[in-house]
């Protein structure tokens, strides 16, 4: 059989085998994003749409309610240092490989298997006025400071952020542990021989070498904070009190499905998409050098 005939057969098989995935992704992810861009410039109730044009964006961007929602997204970002710092410290400890470290790793990663619905359900009881948190405070003598955390818009957002940090802890710890496993132990040993203390070694040797992993965890955490908390918000606060815990992704759902403004909902979805593309581009920039190294 001639080589060119083989090549032709290989290409044909390649097209054939990749077709189902391409069709599925194009039809159910590609087409809707194009539709969303179109419908974001219309007034749309799901059945009939009226073309308005790009001015829908200037209308939306001057709406104070929109900025109130974006403020929640921005405030949520304040928990990122905790969502990264705590797992980094835990990974450093686990990396000491004390007795049972594998067991602890499994325990810390366990929330990854549990749905946001269940996590939200328990968090709701934990932070409730008569919940575990206030009981705990009362037990240690702070009964007078008992508050209904979920009733205040800022404190509810803090409760949401704490729950989020708790849920991300396992994932980020695993990322950092993987990173630490790639480190060359002789570098650490050399630093020790040079007389550096443990803290110095961690901050001056280990941390700089983990940069890529920290950036990866950062991107994963930001993406999760902006686009994976729908269920948690749905169960824990319903977006309230007021707009207190309504982030952009929840606002898309509210606008589209609760208020029936499909066009405006699609528009907020596109803004979310643009934010995600921005985060994704940062990630691409970070990962590409490593890929070139590998191939």
């Amino acid at each position: 059989m001639s080589a060119s005939r083989l090549t032709r057969r290989r290409r044909r098989a390649g097209v054939l085998l990749s077709l189902p995935a391409v069709v599925l992704v194009a039809a159910l992810l590609g087409v809707p994003i194009v539709q969303a861009i179109y419908y974001s410039m219309t007034s749309w109730n799901g059945l009939t749409s009226t073309w308005i044009g790009p001015s829908t964006y200037s209308t939306a961007l001057t709406d104070p309610i929109f900025w109130r929602v974006i403020e929640n997204n921005a405030l949520l970002l304040l928990c990122i240092p905790f969502a990264l710092g705590i797992p980094l410290a835990i990974a450093a400890l686990l990396n000491e490989h004390v007795r049972g470290w594998r067991f602890f790793r499994s325990v810390y990663f366990l929330p990854t298997a549990v749905s946001w619905v269940v996590v939200g359900m328990v968090a709701l009881q934990f932070f409730a006025a008569s919940g575990s948190l206030n009981r705990l405070l009362a037990d240690v003598g702070f009964g007078s400071s008992a508050t209904d955390v979920l009733a205040g818009s800022h404190s509810a957002l803090v409760a949401l952020a704490i729950t989020f940090v708790w849920s991300m802890l396992g994932t980020n710890t695993i990322i950092f542990l993987t990173g630490m496993a790639t480190l060359d132990p002789t570098l650490i040993e050399a630093a020790r021989v040079d007389g550096l203390g443990r803290g110095q070694i961690f901050f001056r040797v280990t941390l700089p070498l983990l940069t890529r992993f920290i950036q990866f965890a950062f991107v994963i955490t930001v993406i999760s904070a902006f686009s994976a908390l729908f269920s948690l918000i749905f169960v824990m606060t319903g977006g309230g009190p007021g707009l207190g815990t309504t982030t952009l992704e929840f606002f898309v759902y509210q606008t589209g499905f609760a208020q029936g403004q499909f066009g405006t909902g699609a528009l907020y979805g596109i803004i979310l998409f643009v934010i995600m593309i921005f985060v994704g581009l940062v990630q691409l920039r970070l990962i590409r050098p490593a890929d070139e190294e590998g191939s």
Partner: protein
């Protein structure tokens, strides 16, 4: 926590007797204790919600209010308020169908992108993987309207298709990464022996990729089992998954807490069991995502 300022200063050891630096092993022995205590504290924080679930799922309302005593009243009530059995079955059907589609399209396309390159296949691969960056909320409204138009939201079909589409980009990336590790010579040898490329995929490559298939299955099972948004919008009430049913039950705000805890427990259990058995596959999926 190893050196809290309040701890009394250690008895001053005669300085000259101490070596200038502790050896690595000696240091490890010294720090093992405090590190272990720290690990336990974190473990308590991570396990507390699970303890809370277990503890309160076996109470009735007044026992819950008092935080004292246990009973199975909550469970009886749960089975009255929520069709637990049929919703567990719905979850299983939806998961199985979506995962089957994901596996079929991601193994075949992953093999094609890795080994059967054609003009533009690199770009096509990038576009498929780039779909990972599309947040579900950005497409959910047109998707819902499309599915309604094609009458796909009155059965499992719509939700299964959406889950399959959402899982495909990462699964394809993972499978392609895996197939790149198989030598070209192996594939070419099979073709020289007279196998078509399609049969080479089915008979040679597919059996070799069982570990990657396991990783995709476990990742997707947990993702789909735990999902709320897609199920909430695309499944008719009678076909709800357990996670959606539970969220709907809780949003009523009238159901007693022990009932919700019992429901949470039963909905979380299958995914936890899968996690405990297959956790290394989950970890592998995550690290492969890092491009390692």
């Amino acid at each position: 926590m190893t050196a809290a300022p309040v701890t009394p200063a250690p008895p001053a050891a005669p300085a000259p007797q101490r070596p200038p630096r502790l050896s690595a092993r000696a240091h490890k022995r010294l720090t093992a204790g405090p590190v272990f205590v720290g690990m336990i504290v974190v473990a308590i924080v991570m396990l507390y919600p699970f303890y809370y679930l277990l503890d309160n799922a076996f109470r009735n309302q007044s026992q819950y209010d008092l935080q004292h005593g246990h009973s199975t009243a909550g469970w009886t009530q749960l089975f009255q308020n929520l069709p637990v059995g049929s919703e567990l079955l719905n979850s299983t059907i939806v998961c199985a169908a979506a995962i089957l589609i994901i596996l079929v399209v991601s193994t075949s396309s992953g093999f094609a992108f890795a080994k059967l390159r054609y003009r533009g296949s690199g770009t096509v691969f990038l576009l498929v993987v780039a779909a990972l960056m599309v947040p579900l909320q950005s497409i959910i409204i047109p998707e819902y309207v499309n599915m309604a138009k094609f009458h796909l939201i009155s059965s499992y079909t719509g939700a299964v298709l959406v889950y399959a589409a959402l899982g495909t980009p990462f699964a394809t990336f993972l499978m392609a990464t895996y197939y790149r590790g198989i030598s070209d010579e192996l594939i070419e040898a099979a073709v020289m022996d007279g196998l078509s490329y399609e049969r080479t995929f089915l008979q040679i490559a597919l059996p070799l990729s069982l570990p990657a298939i396991a990783t995709v299955t476990v990742l997707q099972f947990i993702q789909i089992w735990d999902d709320l948004l897609v199920g909430l919008l695309f499944l008719p009430t009678g076909d709800r998954t357990i996670t959606v049913g539970l969220a709907a039950l809780s949003s009523g705000r009238t159901t007693s807490i022990p009932v919700l805890m019992a429901g949470s427990l039963i909905s979380a259990l299958p995914a936890i069991v899968v996690y405990l058995i297959f956790q290394r596959h989950l970890v592998k999926g995550l690290t492969l995502g890092m491009g390692k």
